[in-house]
């Protein structure tokens, strides 16, 4: 997607379709219209953040300090194949079944 000028822009229907594609969401025409309206309504409020000068501020990804957690690489108990596949919409020969991915 082309980067349009920020905050002054409105999401077009094509952009809504592009974002929906990125999110792997198939949307009906009605849903596209509804979402376009809602997203534009909400994004107007994001403009407010431009009032703040954050050029010298470090971003926070975690509210409390986190560090890497290491452990010994040992074999532990894990789920059985039956348990793992128990919720699968379709399974065969100890594997998940999905529609054809590669054309023959």
């Amino acid at each position: 997607m082309r980067a349009a000028p920020l905050y002054t822009m409105k999401l077009s229907k094509e952009e809504v379709e592009h974002v929906a594609w990125l999110a792997r969401l198939e949307l009906s025409e009605d849903e596209k219209e509804r979402l376009m309206g809602h997203l534009n309504q909400i994004m107007v409020h994001f403009e407010k953040l431009q009032e703040l000068d954050t050029s010298a501020v470090e971003p926070t990804s975690h509210s409390i300090p986190v560090e890497n957690v290491f452990r010994e690489d040992e074999v532990g108990p894990c789920l059985s194949v039956e348990d793992v596949l128990a919720n699968a919409p379709e399974a065969r020969d100890d594997q998940f079944v999905v529609p054809r991915v590669v054309e023959t």
């Binding site: 974002v19 969401l25 409020h45 407010k48 501020v57 926070t60 509210s63 986190v66 919720n87």
Partner: protein, 485 residues
Amino acid sequence: MDLHKLTAHELHEMLKARKVSSREITQAVLKRVSEVEERVKAYVTVTADQALETARAVDDRISRGAEIGPLTGIPVAIKDNMCTTGILTTCSSKILYNYKPPYDATAVERLAKAGAVMIGKTNLDEFAMGSSTENSAFFVTHNPWDLTKVPGGSSGGSAAAIAADEAIVAVGSDTGGSIRQPASFCGVVGMKPTYGRVSRYGLVAFASSLDQIGPITKDVTDTATVLHAIAGKDPMDSTSVDIPAPDFAACLRNDVRGLKIGVPKEFFAQGVRPEITDAVMKGIELLKSLGADYREISMPIMEYTLPTYYILAPSEASSNLARYDGVRYGLRSKHSTDVLAMFMKTRDEGFGAEVKQRIMIGTYALSAGYYDAYYLKAQKVRTLVRQAYDKAFEEFDVLISPTSPTVAFGVGEKADDPLEMKLADVCTIPVNMAGIPAMSLTCGFQDGLPIGMQIMGKAFDEETILRVAYTLEQNTDFHAKRPEL
């Protein structure tokens, strides 16, 4: 005696004195569920048979002389976004309508280990996204104080279950207020612990840097008891923190002498109703009369927290919810012949309107060309929010505000206005952004509906929050007032 009306600590005393069995308590709660559930609709799944079986096992252990802990034999309700082995865990979403997890969430496992008896899984806004429980894909939960009102959300099922005496204690999850706001609307006690205090393993992820599990109970003592049971480091959640959890219930004190309370005025703006401000200020004055000191302060950054949250939370959600693709569990669309169409149709059919909207916002905010302007900007504002709290806590032990700007609103009243609904969380959202703990308890009533006070504290200092809440509770009788159903 109406056993279902009692608190965990009252029932604990009776269990210890052998005046009642867990089976009797569980039967009383299940009977209550069968009487009122049709009107309240707090539960997605009631696990009656399993509950009676667990209660019988608990009674057996007690009769053989096993130790009776504070939650032994006590019925608990679990929000339906926490995994329970072999028991439906739906997140109130069509996309997980048939999901039976092969493992327990750590919080669920710890409650079981403490001897608690699971009554069922409670309704929520789909994937915990919402403030009214109206976004459940299954049905709307009703507020026990007035069945035409919402219970709040997203943990509306857990809060309504406690208010309606359909469980003795409950757990919910809180990403932007989802424990505290429904606790406030339903006139019960709820706490969001410090981020990292409770393991998130097995909590279906919404926004991983904000999500936290916590108690919803009838009084402050029970909140302390449940928190103690679920808190602590867990190797399965690398963000859980290795800080010892004190026996919170044992630390409760009816004493606030010398405590310094900050009252941030920005939390009393942004649409807060005058009746709410009055009730919260009365509570603060009461604490002052009991020896605490308070002063109004200003935290101007709070004006920016709502838009910041609505970038951060959907961004993390859009990433977390990418896993629902119809391959390994849950719904799979039947209307597709190739795999890509299967993903897209499954997600279209499986997700509700609010979830789709948040996935779209998040995907947009993280997409090429927009990341810096939205997500990174929001993370920087998050830093400013943390710094504002740090500064306030240099001077104050706790901060007090309303939990929500209004009392419970009508079912359907705000369903069509995406912004109006989100304002319900304006006082609770900043807490998650900073990772600090906060709790809500009742401090008054408006037209028969409970008003919630929010007490915020320093990271890993739930103890002081509980002390303030306990003191308030011991010197008022709001918690004794129960809805009539």
